[in-house]
Amino acid sequence: MIIAEPKPIDEIIDSLKDFNRILVAGCDGCVTVCEAGGMKEVEVVASALRIYFKQAGRAVTVDEISLTRQCDRPYTAQLADKIDQYDAVLSLACGVGVQFLAEDYKNKPIFPGVNTCFMGGTEEKGLWTERCQGCGKCILANTGGICPIARCSKRMLNGPCGGSSDGRCEVNKDIACGWHLIYERLKELGQLDRFETPTDPKDWNTSRDGGPRKVIKEVSRL
């Protein structure tokens, strides 16, 4: 899922301080699961905002809502009958949701309430780690199911640099060396031979194309 973290409340206040009618909109998707933007976070942020405005002596409305997903138009459309009552929306969805809202409601300022970080999973409660950078050309088949692009600090494609020790990355001892993991895994799978074939320079065009990337699945298109 997409992992995000709540923005510091002072940063949110900074972007919203001049508005009088605010809607805090959460998303019931990924950001709920990573505890950054679900209904609970909506309540917390909205409550904090109201306290802030009250103490600032302002008469401000801060309403709360959470949509099933903000990355699908039928759900974002659920705001259509309400949005006119607000002069700003704080979206607690990932960057996709914020932008979908912004595209759908062109005359409304939409502000992000979370920092969208990466695609990852739940390591333990309250700890999420990255697994995928969405490069668009998966090489996991050759790397024992462990992605060197997401897991190696230098995105090395042909093995570890000389800096790792005890299986930890030279950049930070808290990070496992991605290539160490790949090596261990290949060894376990008896596929160490795959390691010695040099990997050619990667085709990054699926990752660093101009403008927003597209995924088209013809069979799924209507």
């Binding site: 090395m156 570890p160 990997t199």
Partner: protein, 311 residues
């Protein structure tokens, strides 16, 4: 050993069966033209080629290519170090073309230290290619006369291609395979990480010899003399991938502080002597960090002077 043409002085000396000797100099962190010149002059006659580092430890310095040009113009043989951290394949190839145009014939392909260690930790890294892929790229440009895109070059860079290897890094079992991989990609010489743990290095070398890799690539043992016990401890604890045995630290701390530098040089020389006997070791890469003035002494006392002449 490979039968490709001999491009550089270093390559020629190695091909002739002599122990090769290289050293390195780090360019200054300013526009000062003298820095590189002075260092090169200090060591030029005691080594076969001079490596010039490329923004080492991710700290901004004068560019490696410019310094190499300067050294070439002084009449010495430079080794152009190139890291993939800061430039994508377009910039890397363009620099290679530029280097070729100045007759620079040695290249050392590196990935480079992570920017988080340097003076611009917020910089975006590139890592479009990794070191192995850079080796492949140079080889392709030189041997096929093509850029990665397939564009045909009218004149190709004539490069003796090198790569680095750390025999001590984890996982140890993978180190020989990784060397093999670089050789397969086109590396012709290897400059290793600083060697202090001789037994472990020998173990690695044995693996290299067992796979016959020593017949395919010149291994130059990396040597860095210790200035004192403080440096030894720093290297042990702070520098990633460095293996400094405790008995070495013990030996250094066993002598008075003012004698430690001398002892460090002595250890370095003893180790060179010992490594000369190791099968597969074809030369030495002496990295006297900010201590270039000691290189002549080491080279002389290790019995590597005078340097052979080749044409």
């Amino acid at each position: 050993m490979s039968t490709t043409p001999l491009y550089s002085k270093l390559q020629k000396i190695l091909a002739a069966g002599h122990f090769g000797v290289t050293s390195e100099c780090g360019p200054p962190r300013s526009c000062d033209p003298k820095g590189v010149e002075e260092k090169a002059r200090m060591i030029g006659d005691y080594v076969d080629a001079i490596n010039v580092t490329d923004n080492q430890t991710a700290v901004v310095r004068q560019c490696s290519l410019a310094s190499c040009i300067r050294i070439k113009q002084m009449g010495y043989d430079p080794v152009l170090q190139m890291v993939t951290r800061d430039r994508n394949r377009i910039a890397l190839q363009s620099d290679l073309l530029g280097a070729g145009s100045f007759g620079i014939n040695n290249i050392l392909c590196l990935t480079g230290d992570h920017q988080s260690f340097g003076d611009h930790p917020n910089a975006a890294n590139v890592f479009d290619l990794d070191s192995t892929q850079l080796v492949q790229t140079v080889k392709k440009m030189r041997d096929e006369g093509k850029l990665l895109s397939g564009f045909e070059l009218k004149e190709c860079p004539q490069m003796f291609i090198g790569a680095a290897e750390n025999p001590f890094a984890d996982p140890f079992e993978i180190r020989v395979s990784r060397l093999a991989k670089k050789v397969a990609a086109g590396a012709q010489f290897i400059q290793t990480q600083c060697i202090y743990n001789i037994p472990k290095f020998k173990q690695w070398m044995q693996g290299v010899v067992d796979r016959g890799l020593d017949e395919k690539v010149y291994i130059m043992a990396g040597m860095t003399p210790m200035k004192g016990v403080g440096m030894a401890k720093y290297m042990k604890n702070r520098v990633p991938g460095m293996d400094v045995p405790d008995d070495l630290i013990k030996r250094l701390s066993g002598v008075p502080k003012e004698k430690q530098a001398e002892e460090g040089i002595k250890i370095c020389i003893e180790q060179i002597q010992e490594l000369k006997e190791v099968k597969g070791v074809k030369g030495f890469h002496i990295m006297a960090i900010e201590w270039e003035e000691k290189v002549p002494e080491i080279v002389q006392q290790a019995g590597l002077y005078p340097r052979p002449k080749v044409d």
